[in-house]
């Protein structure tokens, strides 16, 4: 399957390796941005699995990240060590993702987008209103990082190690028969079902695994920022994650790496524009999608195909 070829994995490993040596030349804010990139990439890999490979529209990913972040922050506040909070966040998000997958068995496309949108809103409201548990709008502060990774550089390396582990695991999964079944689910669920693919089970797995990756991202996000409140996990973040996947190239293994990089760096590059930066940011995204609706990787593939004299075709590379 070209969509998760060895070259894609090699390129992603190269990016991670590059990020791990960059702290030597970066200021603390740069290190923070790199850590954020690693965390966003993990979340976007999860959404790419659900949406890009398995074809299940989801605007629920911000909620999964939020669930992971709050789970880590709340358990951490009670002295639970980070590895245990990470495991709990992953399992909780997996379970919630499995449940959110059920509507996908009945509705698809725009309708599924609305269902998952409603779920994100519901989680946001719980995070905001159930102050006895979540701290409400005051949020949770003083979230501790694991003792061995307390410095920004050490924590960045921990985030990169997590990204490496997630990348290898998802690459393996996509190259296994499961990955083929996810693509079958995206391309033609009726035919897939007639060939023995349990579409119902794979749909739920696509949601649950994608959600678990969101939970992992959340578990690393909370100690990174050390203070969480509900607004970063609202619908806007789901759309931001969707943008990362689409701009990088939905259904391309490397897509989330590039999409997250743009989502983190573009606002920084446009910061000199001050008040109008958001308008330019939106314009840049619109132009990017007009030029390459299949994302950056789709564009590069099209250009390569044209150079080779072959007609362009989507290749999930």
């Amino acid at each position: 399957m070209a969509h998760s070829s060895g070259r894609s994995l090699a390129a992603s490993l190269l990016l991670i390796a590059l990020a791990s040596v960059l702290p030597m030349v970066l200021q603390p804010y740069g290190i923070y941005l790199l850590s954020l990139w690693a965390v966003y990439t993990i979340a976007a890999i999860g959404l790419n699995l659900t949406l890009g490979f398995a074809g299940q529209m989801s605007l629920a990913h911000a909620a999964f990240v939020g669930i992971g972040a709050y789970c880590t922050a709340l358990l951490g506040a009670h002295g639970v060590p980070f590895p245990a909070t990470l495991l709990a966040a992953t399992l909780l998000a997996y379970g919630v993702g499995w449940c959110v997958g059920y509507p996908a068995l009945r509705v698809q496309g725009h309708y599924l987008a609305f269902v998952t949108l409603a779920f994100t809103t519901l989680v946001f409201l719980v995070l905001r209103n159930e102050a006895w548990l979540t701290g409400g709008i005051a949020g949770i502060s003083n979230i501790a990082r694991p003792r061995l990774f307390a410095t920004p550089t050490a924590y960045l390396r921990l985030c990169l190690a997590a990204l490496l582990a997630v990348s290898l695991a998802v690459w393996w999964l996509l190259r296994s028969p499961w990955g083929r079944a996810f693509i079958a689910l995206r391309e033609n669920p009726i035919r897939a079902m007639s060939l023995g693919v349990d579409v119902r089970r794979y749909t739920l797995l696509a949601f649950a695994i994608g959600a678990a990756l969101g939970g992992i991202a959340g578990a690393f996000y909370a100690p990174l920022v050390q203070y969480i409140e509900p607004s970063p996990f609202a619908l806007g973040f789901s759309i931001n994650l969707l943008m990362m996947v689409v701009i990088g190239g939905a259904g391309y293994f490397l897509g989330p790496f590039l999409g997250a990089l743009i989502a983190v760096l573009l606002p920084e590059w446009l910061r000199f524009l001050h008040d109008v930066y958001l308008a330019f940011y939106a314009l840049a995204v619109i132009l990017l999608l007009l030029v390459c609706p299949t994302g950056l990787l789709g564009l590069s593939e099209r250009l390569l195909a044209q150079r080779g004299g072959r007609p362009a075709e989507r290749a999930d590379a």
């Binding site: 083929r180 693509i183 897939a192 060939l195 023995g196 349990d198 075709e313």
Partner: protein
């Protein structure tokens, strides 16, 4: 001996339209049953009811005497029932080889075992044999979406055979296939029937193809069976001529 497949008084209506109106049919192991009838007569709906693609409004479907009415297609597939569709249904983004591996992988081991097992679920060799049988070897690594219509049709049919099914329901396999390929397809299906004892139910409008291939033919009109018998007999049936074949 218990028939391989039985439908008893199968019914399916869409609002006021009775697409399948009390069809009872039996398919014996090793038999090739042709299904003919005018467009809109209920042939594909019958297939969809038999295969769990849509739930019948009434009646019963038995496989080896076991009631499988309303079972999901994936569960029926694991019991050895496979199908093709009227319209092409390959996975265009996957290679030809991967389409075939996909068609067989869910029959190999457990789901968890497949996650940690080999990428091809150990099916490359049997997929290559299937490619050879359908003369698609040179295209093994080509993207399925880039194949010609006829080649995709062959791949579509090959996929239905990948898991070694006992019963295959083919919906218009000859549609859009050129004459040279058509002869090859008929010989292939006949060989699979004779050598492997595979049982087929074939919906087809190409009378020469279906009559020369089938052991028995049923004709459906307005959701009912109006003729059932050997091909030559059905071809001469007055009701079949009147409602479908014409003079």
């Amino acid at each position: 001996m218990t028939p391989l497949l039985q439908a008893h008084d199968l019914r399916r209506h869409f609002g006021g339209v009775q697409a399948v109106n009390g069809i009872s049919v039996t398919v014996n192991a090793g038999e090739i049953l042709g299904v003919i009838g005018p467009n809109g007569s209920g042939k594909s709906t019958l297939f969809n009811c038999l295969l769990g693609q849509i739930a019948p409004s009434g009646g019963q479907v038995l496989l080896d005497g076991r009631d499988v009415t309303g079972w999901r297609p994936c569960d029926l597939n694991r019991l050895g029932v496979s199908r093709t569709f009227q319209l092409l249904q390959v996975f265009p983004q996957l290679s030809v080889l991967e389409n075939l591996i996909l068609a067989g992988q869910e029959h190999v081991g457990s789901r968890i075992g497949r996650l940690f097992g080999p990428r091809d679920a150990g099916l490359t060799a049997s997929a290559e044999r299937m490619l050879a049988r359908f003369r698609l070897q040179p295209l093994a690594h080509a993207r399925a979406g880039g194949l010609s219509y006829g080649q995709q049709k062959l791949l579509d049919i090959a996929m239905a055979f990948m898991a070694g099914p006992r019963l295959v329901l083919l919906d218009e396999p000859a549609g859009g296939v050129n004459l040279t390929m058509l002869g090859g397809l008929r010989d292939l299906l006949r060989a699979m029937n004779e050598e492997q004892g595979a049982t087929f139910v074939v919906i087809e409008h190409n009378m020469d193809f279906v009559m020369s291939l089938s052991h028995r033919v049923i004709c459906i009109a307005e959701g009912r069976i109006i003729a059932d018998g050997p091909p030559a007999e059905v071809r001469e049936d007055a009701r079949v001529i009147e409602s479908y074949l014409g003079t």
